[in-house]
Symmetry: C2
Subunit: 83 residues, 2 copies
């Protein structure tokens, strides 16, 4: 079975996000006031072939823990959809 | 009214994604076979104050068009949730 995974990685809320602050400043300069708490993370999509949804979930979890997210400073979530 | 926006920006499927290719190679080296089509994009979250959901949607749309996404090579989608 083939699955599409969408993985969202973002900095933990306690970690300073200079990229988010820069985007926030740029939005403000463009006239977008009323915007705050801008945080910039990663949005990773991939396809995976596994025999069950449970197995695919387990593999995506391991990929996040080992490579896709730095769990010291980042948190992540993901969604799986069967294709 | 305050809204939380989640914005997903990714390269168009016709555009080459070297970062995705690098992640794909790294996953493969770690033993994660059966993974393909890895694409890496941006996941932007922010809070916005507007008087209606429609107005907030319009503002987020404009932010994406003007700054958050490079619409020549990237596509985006977003979700709004009232806080």
């Amino acid at each position: 079975m083939a699955f599409a995974a969408k993985i969202y990685v973002s900095l933990k809320s306690t970690v300073s996000d200079p990229q988010g602050a820069t985007v926030s400043g740029a939005l403000s300069q463009l006239g977008f006031d009323s915007v705050k708490d801008v945080r910039v993370g990663k949005y990773i999509t991939l396809h995976i072939d596994k025999s069950s949804q449970k197995e695919a979930e387990s593999v995506v979890f391991n990929m996040c823990e080992q490579l896709l997210a730095n769990t010291v400073i980042e948190e992540y979530s993901f969604e799986l959809q069967e294709l």
